[in-house]
Amino acid sequence: MGVLEIAKGMGVTLGKLFQKPVTVSYPEQRATLQPRFRGRHILTRHPGTNLEKCIGCSLCAAACPAYAIYVEAAENDPAAPVSPGERYAKVYEINMLRCIFCGMCEEACPTGAVVLGNEFEMADYRSRDFVYAKEDMLVGVTGSIPQRREATRLGKPVRLGFQLDGGQPRAELEGVKYP
């Protein structure tokens, strides 16, 4: 190996030194995600009627390879229905510690109710705080449980640590907006 080769190699290194870095200083800076990135689930609603798309059929739970989903159904009250039709999910829970974000639930869902979103910052202290209920996943809820807890404590809006490449979530994430 000659001096020339060493100089060439150092040249590459020096060249990189003056380029813009590709890493971001997360979490101070937001990471840029591809829209197809799969993170925390969103439970979507029908636009217009605002009824929940989920009909409590438990097919997502059946498809889940990690047994992460628990659904308990109930009968809709026709005067104040939660979803169109007779049946809705009274309890809908996903254990985010078990979930492997495979998307089988999304694929199994006959109504397109459960869709994997882009949020991923769910680190928390107690196992039980990883069980996300319906109210933690319905469309319109921004941020994970710890993020929302933090936001309430500080009295500030939730700050997500990412932005989407292109700015738009996938079409299935009907009604979802990431600030």
Partner: protein, 723 residues
């Protein structure tokens, strides 16, 4: 008779239907309308097969095909596929199923397409989903895609036929099973098809279903049109833990499957036991279960200084019992148990009573006489005369009533094959001729009354004497029926057995031997027959449960006399009953849905219980509870668990219950114990249907009144909707 199915030769009894021939040969045919215990009808046209038979020449020889030695009888095929459920297989018949015949496969797929034309795509919200014959068969035999791009038929989707059965008219595939069931089994013509063709729907004329046996239609409906309203939306079929066990609400002992989810008993469906309940159970057995998951006692309760019952641990309860019974002679402790306890539990209790030398021992309810059953339920169904004395079967043993009605239809039990009960027994016909003259009912009016050819109003208690020495023309006619019959069966109910004594038993034995009648005396409690074989009656100087107040101290398991013993009272029960509220210590018990053990039904059949996955905290069965009681009393526990109790039972009555099979086995105990008993009137239906969750009954009412219109924007079709 030899039949060839897809090239496989099978030997079958004459009269077998083609569908059973196929299943005997190990083949498969999809079917919706045929049902094991109903008449074959040919309504759904799914069971198509190609079939052909050899034909004979005028000289009696077969029309042959081929030359010389290679010649075989020529098979003349029917020009079109035939419905195999209504076609009788004949000697030398050849059958081709979808496995070997393109024509059949195409015909079945086409038939499936017709069936699905008007069937909504409701599977995700339908309680039948996952256990649906239509789903399975569409997957196996259908085209796999729909070519029907138009709007489907719309009908009432939310139509409660009763508080317990809900109908979705859109899902009905017009198999007519439910209609035939009501006509043929309980003999009630309530449901029927209304309108014609694509507009056909199921409804009742009167509105509402008669209670008693209506729930069975939810089992036999091949789709989700008729569903159990109590279990509505409680879980999907694959989420339930299914436990095959025996219903012990009454002495019939029907085979059931208990479906539990998350530790709650959500649904009961009928199991098949050809000897006992065939495929039917009563509504009390099916819908009377919510108590098992509502307001259960989950920890022991101990009365504190202020007189309040407070939750405690088992250890604290044992200490409290020990302190409460301090100084009491052990022989003075009363031991009382409900007659739905298992044989094993009974054996453990009898052994503890022996160990304590206890006198006040009893089980309740029971009759003062023990009349060993000589007839089986199959004998009832195949009898040529049945006389029912002083029984209200709806409250005492409902499914026995169905077996009697089966007798009226001629007692045709469907044949049995290696693949199980015949799917289509061609001897069963729609609107079978009934023979009411073969049934006599003596006593008060009951549901069976309307089916009987001979009805005699009589005071139940002396009805037996009057039947032995008939004094009126009516009774003489009944007696003549008994005398003239070849296979008569005599059934005695609570009214006839209440207050009966040894002389009544002798009179009955005499009557039975004179007339050749076999006898079933309906036991007072679900396992009274079995417990009678154990020494669980007041012993010398002892008091029965009817004189509980005079017993110095008592341990009472699963009984609710509504009073306490003279002194310290320990109650072992599933709920905080009136008796438990008066007790000093309450121990939590498990229901019979959660037990392993054995019971004996009214025909003397030993039947197994299996534990379903129901949440009941620290509740314990009687065997383990007696271990705790023995500890509190400072004596050695008779049995530490199920195994030990089985050994005890083996020692005391010589029966090994560890080997009892699912279908059960008839057994007669060599010895039985009797003692005078307080009169008792069984109230199965009233008791079981009492604790209803008001909420949903009202909800269903609201839904019907509300007309089920949803504030959904009607214009754009919902994504994921069915059409």
């Amino acid at each position: 008779m030899k039949v060839h199915v897809d090239g496989i030769e099978v030997e079958l009894p004459a009269g077998t239907s083609a569908i059973d021939a196929v299943f005997s040969a190990g083949g498969d045919v999809p079917y919706f309308c045929a049902h094991k215990y109903l008449s074959p009808l040919g309504a759904c046209r799914m069971c198509l097969v190609e079939s052909g038979s050899p034909r004979k020449n005028p000289d009696g020889s077969f029309v042959m095909e081929g030359e010389g030695d290679a010649a075989t009888p020529k098979i003349f095929w029917f020009p079109k596929p035939m419905a195999s459920c209504t076609m009788q297989a004949t000697e030398g018949m050849h059958i081709r199923t979808a496995k070997t015949s393109e024509v059949v496969a195409k015909a079945q797929a086409g038939m499936m397409e017709f069936t699905l034309l008007n069937h909504p795509l409701d599977c995700p919200t339908c309680d039948k989903g996952g256990a649906c014959e239509l789903q399975d068969r569409a997957f196996e035999y259908g085209y796999g895609a729909s070519r029907f791009g138009f709007d489907r038929r719309h009908a009432e989707k939310h139509y409660p036929l009763s508080d317990f059965v809900i109908l979705d008219q859109e899902r009905c595939i017009h198999c007519k099973r439910c209609v035939r069931y009501f006509e043929e089994v309980p003999g009630q013509e309530v449901l029927d098809f209304i309108e014609r063709g694509g507009h056909t729907f199921i409804d009742t004329e009167e509105g509402g279903l008669p209670t008693g046996f209506s729930g069975n239609i939810t089992d036999i409906c091949p789709v989700g049109a008729l569903l159990d309203n109590v279990a509505r939306f409680r879980g999907r079929n694959w989420e339930y833990d299914h436990t095959p066990t025996t219903c012990t609400l009454c002495p019939v002992g029907c085979s059931i499957t208990v479906d539990a989810r998350n530790g709650r008993l959500e649904r009961i469906v009928a199991g098949e036991n050809r000897d006992v309940n065939e495929a039917w159970i009563c509504d009390a057995g099916r819908f009377g279960h919510p108590f098992a998951s509502e307001e259960r006692l989950t920890t022991p309760l101990v009365r504190n200084e202020d007189g309040a019952l407070i939750p405690a641990t088992w250890d604290e309860a044992i200490t409290a019992i020990n302190r409460g019974l301090l100084g009491l002679p052990l022989a003075d402790l009363g031991l009382f148990v409900g007659a739905d306890a298992t044989l094993e539990e009974g054996a453990a209790l009898a052994a503890l009573a022996d160990a304590l030398n206890a006198r006040h021992v009893d089980h309740f309810p029971r009759h003062s006489v023990f009349i060993a059953p000589t007839a089986t339920l199959t004998d009832v169904a195949t009898a040529d005369a049945v006389v029912v004395l002083g029984a209200d079967l709806g409250e005492e043993a409902p499914v026995l009533e169905l077996r009697i009605l089966e007798m009226l239809r001629g007692g045709l039990l469907p044949a049995e094959f290696a693949h199980g009960t015949a799917i289509a027994d061609l001897r069963l016909v729609e609107r079978p001729a009934r023979r009411p003259e073969r049934l006599a009912v003596i006593g008060g009016e009951s549901r069976l009354w309307g089916h009987a050819g001979h009805r005699v109003s009589a005071n139940g208690e002396n009805a037996l004497t009057r039947l032995a020495h008939p004094d009126t023309d009516d009774l003489k006619a009944v007696r003549a029926l008994l005398d003239g019959a070849e296979r008569p069966v005599l059934i005695l109910g609570a009214d006839a057995l209440r207050g009966a004594s040894g002389s009544a038993a002798a009179l009955l034995a005499d009557l039975a031997s004179r007339t050749g009648a076999k006898v079933i005396a309906i036991p007072a409690g679900p396992n009274s027959n079995g417990l009678a074989a154990l020494n669980l009656v007041p012993r010398t100087g002892g008091l029965g449960v009817d004189r509980l107040g005079e017993v110095p101290a008592a341990f009472i398991s699963r009984l609710d006399p509504g009073m306490r013993a003279g002194g310290f009272t320990v109650v072992h029960d599933t709920h905080l009953t009136a008796t438990a509220q008066l007790a000093d210590v309450v121990l939590p018990a498990v229901t019979n849905y959660e037990k392993r053990g054995t019971v004996q039904n009214l025909e003397g059949r030993l039947l197994p219980l299996n534990p379903a996955a129901i949440q009941s905290g620290e509740a314990a069965d009687l065997i383990r509870t007696l271990t705790a009681l023995a500890e509190a009393l400072g004596v050695k526990a008779p049995a530490r668990g199920q195994r030990g109790a089985q050994t005890l039972l083996m020692g005391s009555v010589g029966v090994n219950t560890a080997t009892v099979q699912v279908g059960g086995a008839l057994h007669t105990f060599a010895r039985t114990f009797v003692a005078p008993a307080a009169p008792h009137t069984p109230k199965l239906w009233t008791e079981r249907m009492r604790s209803r969750d008001r909420d949903w009954v009202e909800r269903i009412h609201d839904l019907v009144e509300g007309g089920w219109t949803l504030p959904v924007a009607p214009a754009a079709p919902q994504p994921g909707g069915d059409d």
